[in-house]
Symmetry: C2
Subunit: 137 residues, 2 copies
């Protein structure tokens, strides 16, 4: 459990450290992969209502404590991250691994878009088959 850590993070960010928030955040910290709202709800049980989870995750994302991630499933996921990275998602079994490529980031930094856009964020997700699903054909 990451309850103490979650509490510190909340206080550090000037957010009230309520039980609901502590539970939601510590769940995200403990997770090994980006969690959907339903995932979080299943983990926190009755300690936080679904609507509260939505509000909490949104608030934590606004505070840059969590990152909102989109695997193009028709719903969002949230991840507790320190370093910026991307994901490769297996389209067969759903396995997720983190991907980092310095060349990628270097390019992303200075993608100069012709018509003068100023880019504030980007979303890059990779999709394919993981090692074991490739063998299963």
């Amino acid at each position: 459990m990451q309850i103490i850590r979650a509490k510190k993070i909340l206080v550090n960010s000037g957010l009230e450290a309520t039980p609901a928030r502590i539970n939601v955040l510590s769940t995200c910290i403990s997770a090994t992969r980006p969690l959907s709202v339903a995932d979080v709800a299943a983990k926190v049980g009755s300690t936080a209502h679904l609507a509260t989870i939505y509000r909490t995750l949104e608030k934590l994302a606004s505070a840059n404590i969590l990152t909102r991630i989109d695997f193009q499933e028709g719903k969002f996921r949230y991840e507790y991250v320190s370093d910026h990275h991307h994901h490769a998602v297996c389209e067969s079994c759903g396995k997720v691994i983190e991907v980092q490529d310095k060349r990628l980031e270097a390019i992303m930094e200075n993608v100069k878009v012709g018509s003068g856009f100023s880019i504030t964020r980007h979303a890059l997700e990779l999709f394919g088959l993981c090692h074991s699903c490739q063998k299963k054909g």
Copy 2:
């Protein structure tokens, strides 16, 4: 109108060239930006029921005639594309421009993911402010 062209594309792909499909596809071909299902529905009027539009767009995407795009709005968009490219979306006014970066593609081609993923597709979207919205500050 791109009706004749739409019809040819459908036949070429072995799909029945029904009025509903022709209307949906020619609408996408004529579009200057990725269309949501509601966008398509507004354009085709009563020539295709909403459920039919969903089914048609999905079918066209499966046949690689359209690309399904996700601007993280809670809904998908569809685009008729010949060349592979990405998008920059203005978060203020919604303006969309196409982005191409050969270095980006070159890297994407051989992102070797440690754990042996084989990458079949990727999604990259850029978000920020367009030229005129930057000035409006």
